[in-house]
Every structure is written in structure tokens, then in C-alpha cells.
């Protein structure tokens, strides 16, 4: 083999082992976070404060996006359905697309860029300004005090945000479909109620959003904790949080959907 091919192979090997090592480190970190979660539950105010920062402060973007996604679904859905003469099924289309897919996934993507990046940047800056070291030297475990509350706040906030996203989306679909276009309100709601199954559709959507919440929070706290303690390092880690968690959400969504809806 010529030297440049050998070099390429070596670099590829390095790349792969680096990634594997980091994944292992991240998994150990997640285990530590869960292990030291006692304080996050015992001292609930720590977690509630983080729910405010990650959940409540994400409300505006989630609600507005939900409303608009629902309104667009109403327009597009009506346009397609009326070709087949079944425009009363608009409620079913809007509701199912939202609670099964768009609610959890789009809310998670927005949550990753709004809250995930903020968590990474905050923890990264705490590391860069030695606040985490200072905490350790004061005999306070930063994983228990800083990381775990943020992690659980994300896990709790995500399904609530996804539910609100879907609710506002359905309302948006109603505004466009019923109020603007004139689909019959009775059939819009009754068909929706008849077709949406609580366990099959809504619970599966909730499970998805809990999984996405855990993925985003895990990536966000890990990237923050592991970042280079410099301005460049924090900005790189923030970007990685958004990119990695967005891709992870899409991959996880595909796998979960494949398990949940097998065309029965």
C-alpha cells in the first residue's frame, strides 16, 4: 500500500475510535447523571427552576410554530382531500399527523435549537469560568447539582411542549379548515374523535416525545460538560448539540415509528 493510502486508513481508524470512545464516555456520563439524580428529585426546586428555563421559556416558539404548522396542514390537507371528495376527514388528517409525527418531531427539533443549545452554552461557560471546578472544590458534585436537574427538566418539559404543539396545531387546522374554508365543524371534530385512538396514537406520540426529550437533554448536558473551556470550544459544542440532537431525533423517530405502527 502506498503511504498516502496508509495515512488515510490510519486517519479513518482514528476517527472511528475517537467517536466510539466519545460515545462510551457519553454513556458513562449518562449513567452518572442518572445515578446522582437523587438531589434533582429531593430538592425539587432545582429541577423546577430548570423546567422554567428550558420549558416555559420555549413556549412562545413552540406555540407559534404549532399554530402555523396546523394552519398549513389545514390548507394543504383540504386541497388534497377535496379532490377525493372527503374534505370532512380534514380533522382526522390534521390530528393524526400532529399527534403521531409532527408534534413530537417538530417540537423536539425546536426544543433542541432553543433549549438544548442554551443548556450546552450555559454549562460550557460554567466550565470555562471554572464554576464547575469551584463547585467540586466546595465538595458539591456538579453532576448532581448542575447536570441532573437540567437533564430531568428536559425530559419532563419535552412531552408537555409536544402536547401543546399538537393542541395549537389542531386549533390552527380548525381555524383554517372550518372558519376560513368552511368545512363542517361537526364532522371535523367527530371524525377526529372517532379516528384518533388514545393508546395507539396519543400514547405513542407521548412516548416519542419523552424519548426525544431524553436524547436532547443527554446530548446538551454532555456537550456542555465535555467542551473545551474556551470561547471557540463553547461555540463548537453548542453547534454540535443542535446538529447531533436533530439527527438523533430523526433517526430515533424512524426507529420508533417502525416499532409502533406496523400497518396492523
Amino acid at each position: 500500500m502506498n503511504p498516502s493510502a496508509l495515512d488515510l486508513l490510519r486517519r479513518l481508524g482514528h476517527f472511528v475510535t475517537d467517536r466510539l470512545w466519545r460515545l462510551g464516555f457519553a454513556s458513562r456520563f449518562l449513567m452518572m447523571t442518572v445515578l446522582y439524580s437523587g438531589a434533582a428529585f429531593r430538592r425539587l426546586h432545582l429541577t423546577i427552576r430548570e423546567i422554567y428555563f428550558t420549558g416555559v421559556l420555549s413556549l412562545i416558539i413552540i406555540l407559534v410554530s404549532g399554530l402555523f404548522v396546523g394552519m398549513v396542514l389545514g390548507l394543504q390537507g383540504y386541497d388534497t382531500l377535496q379532490r377525493y371528495g372527503s374534505s370532512e376527514a380534514l380533522g382526522v388528517l390534521v390530528a393524526l399527523s400532529l399527534v403521531r409525527e409532527l408534534g413530537p418531531v417538530v417540537a423536539a427539533l425546536l426544543f433542541a435549537s432553543r433549549a438544548g443549545s442554551a443548556i450546552t452554552a450555559e454549562i460550557g461557560l460554567m466550565k470555562a469560568t471554572e464554576q464547575l471546578s469551584a463547585m467540586e472544590m466546595m465538595a458539591v458534585n456538579p453532576i448532581a447539582r448542575v447536570i441532573a436537574p437540567r437533564f430531568w427538566a428536559g425530559v419532563v418539559s419535552m412531552p408537555l411542549l409536544a402536547a401543546l404543539f399538537s393542541a395549537l396545531g389542531i386549533f390552527g387546522g380548525y381555524l383554517v379548515g372550518v372558519q376560513l374554508i368552511g368545512v363542517d365543524a361537526g364532522s371535523f371534530w367527530s371524525q377526529m374523535q372517532a379516528a384518533v385512538d388514545f393508546r395507539q396514537d396519543i400514547m405513542n406520540g407521548v412516548i416519542k416525545s419523552v424519548v426525544f426529550g431524553a436524547i436532547i437533554s443527554w446530548i446538551a448536558v454532555f456537550e456542555g460538560y465535555d467542551c473545551e473551556p474556551t470561547a471557540e470550544g463553547v461555540s463548537g459544542a453548542t453547534t454540535r448539540t443542535v446538529v447531533t440532537s436533530s439527527l438523533a431525533i430523526l433517526a430515533a423517530d424512524f426507529m420508533l415509528t417502525a416499532f409502533m405502527f406496523r400497518g396492523e
Partner: protein, 275 residues
């Protein structure tokens, strides 16, 4: 052991990825003393502090704090020991989301289990000791560099430690703040009957307040003694350091090829297209 000094370092070696950072360090920090560790940036001073605080584990040798070997302690033991150490970080490392009062109250609320009224009195006493009782309601962003360090000092003494470690306490301060911090370090050390370790390269301020000095270069202790010994030292490195001479055993030039040879060679370094 009752007569063992608060900190005892024996034959300490430490390496990052097989690259030696510290070799054969021996130090004694006696009770009631203010000891400085000096040297150039990157000579291993801060690493020594981290080894004392148990944030790093030595490759060989040992650090004993209050009679306990730091690296042999488990997590619970290490955290119990750290409650008896205070540490002042270079830029204070105050929690930016907490007020001055809450920063100083932080270790007390985490560890003491005292009622809030008592914590309030303790915090005000600690803040008074550093002259910032009146600033208890400010946020860290509203403080000057010197004030932030005094608040961090109040936080470091909150749990009445037996040892305080200072990582570059004088870096980036104006002359007045600098002497305030210097005087505070000495005053608190004597009033509380504790020991202090200062990692610094501010020679003039340190010589005024310390009892003993260790000089480090390239991960070794190259000289030690009282302030007077150090001032009189004929050791070339110490001499260059104290008098701030630009050239000496520590070279002005980064290692490079021969000057003439580098200038005479044909240029083969194209200008980067993005400049």
C-alpha cells in the same frame, strides 16, 4: 497525627499522557504559614494545587492533607476533606446566576444544614471580613475584578477551612486591589489560624506577605526559602525571575533554527489565499 503539617507532599510525580508535568516534588506547608509556589506559566504550579485538592491523581508519590493521603480517598472521603479546604480561583469563579450573598451562602446551604437566619449572620460576617458587606445584594457581573475575588475569598472561608489555596490571586488587578487582596490573605490566615498556599508569579506582592517560597521550573522545585533567602538568591533562574530580566536561563527566543539559515533559504511558503 496531631503534629503533622496540614499539607505534606512527598516525591510527587505527575504526567499527562506520559508527558511528565511534575517530577520529584517535596513540599511542607506548616500550620499558620502562608506559602507561595512561584514559577513561570506552565511550570506545574496549578497542577500542584489540583493534586492537593484531589482533582488529579499523582502518577507516583503522595499528597497528605490533614494526615490523609488524598489520592487514596474514595469520593465520600475526598468530599469530606474538601469541606476543610477553601480554594480561590484565578478570576473568582463566582456563580454568575447567584447574588454575592447567595454565592457566599452556597457552601453553607449545601453542607452546614444551619437555619437560614444563622446562615444570613454568617454570610454577613464573612462579607464583612473582606469589606463587602454593603455589596451583598449585587450580582457578580456588577463587581470589579478585585471585588469579585474578595467575594470568592469570603466564599472560600465560609466553612472555616484549615487550608486555603489561591490560584493566581493577583492576576489582572490594579495596584490598590492587589495590595488589598495581599493584605487580606495575610490577615485572614493569621486571624483564622489556618494555612495558605498561593500560586502566583507576582513576586513583589508575594514577598511582602509570605513566610516561605517554593520556586518551580519545568515541573521541579528549583529553589526554596524565606522571602529574604529568595531575595538574596544567586540561583540564575531565581535572579532572573525576581528582577524580571528579559533574558537569562529562560530564553527570550522560542527554540528555532539558525537565524541566518532561515532567512537565506528560498521561500516556499505561499500566501494563504484567504488573507
Amino acid at each position: 497525627m496531631a503534629d503533622e503539617p496540614p499539607v505534606l507532599i512527598r516525591d510527587l510525580n505527575f504526567a499527562y499522557d506520559r508527558r511528565p508535568v511534575l517530577t520529584g516534588i517535596n513540599m511542607v506547608i506548616p500550620r499558620g504559614a502562608v506559602v507561595a509556589i512561584m514559577g513561570l506559566s506552565g511550570c506545574g504550579k496549578t497542577t500542584t494545587l489540583r493534586l492537593i485538592g484531589g482533582q488529579l491523581k499523582p502518577t507516583s508519590g503522595e499528597v497528605r492533607v490533614a494526615g490523609q493521603v488524598v489520592h487514596e480517598l474514595d469520593d465520600a472521603g475526598l468530599y469530606a476533606l474538601r469541606r476543610r479546604m477553601g480554594m480561590l480561583f484565578q478570576f473568582g469563579a463566582l456563580f454568575t446566576d447567584l447574588s454575592v450573598f447567595d454565592n457566599v451562602a452556597f457552601p453553607l446551604r449545601e453542607h452546614s444544614g444551619l437555619p437560614e437566619e444563622m446562615i444570613r449572620d454568617l454570610v454577613l460576617m464573612k462579607l464583612n471580613a473582606v469589606g463587602l458587606r454593603g455589596a451583598h445584594h449585587l450580582m457578580p457581573a456588577e463587581l470589579s475584578g478585585g471585588m469579585a475575588r474578595r467575594v470568592a475569598l469570603a466564599r472560600a472561608i465560609a466553612l472555616d477551612p484549615l487550608l486555603i489555596m489561591y490560584d493566581e490571586p493577583f492576576a489582572g488587578l490594579d495596584p490598590i486591589s492587589l495590595s488589598i487582596i495581599g493584605a487580606l490573605i495575610r490577615k485572614l490566615n493569621d486571624a483564622l489560624g489556618i494555612s495558605s498556599i498561593i500560586v502566583t508569579h507576582d513576586i513583589q506582592e508575594s514577598l511582602k506577605i509570605v513566610d516561605y517560597i517554593y520556586f518551580m521550573a519545568d515541573g521541579k522545585v528549583v529553589a526554596e526559602g524565606t522571602a529574604e533567602d529568595i531575595r538574596r538568591s544567586q540561583e540564575p533562574f531565581v535572579h532572573q525571575f525576581i528582577w524580571g530580566e528579559p533574558d537569562g536561563p529562560v530564553n527570550f527566543h522560542y527554540p528555532a533554527r539558525a537565524y541566518r539559515e532561515e532567512l537565506m533559504e528560498q521561500p516556499n511558503r505561499p500566501r494563504p489565499w484567504w488573507t
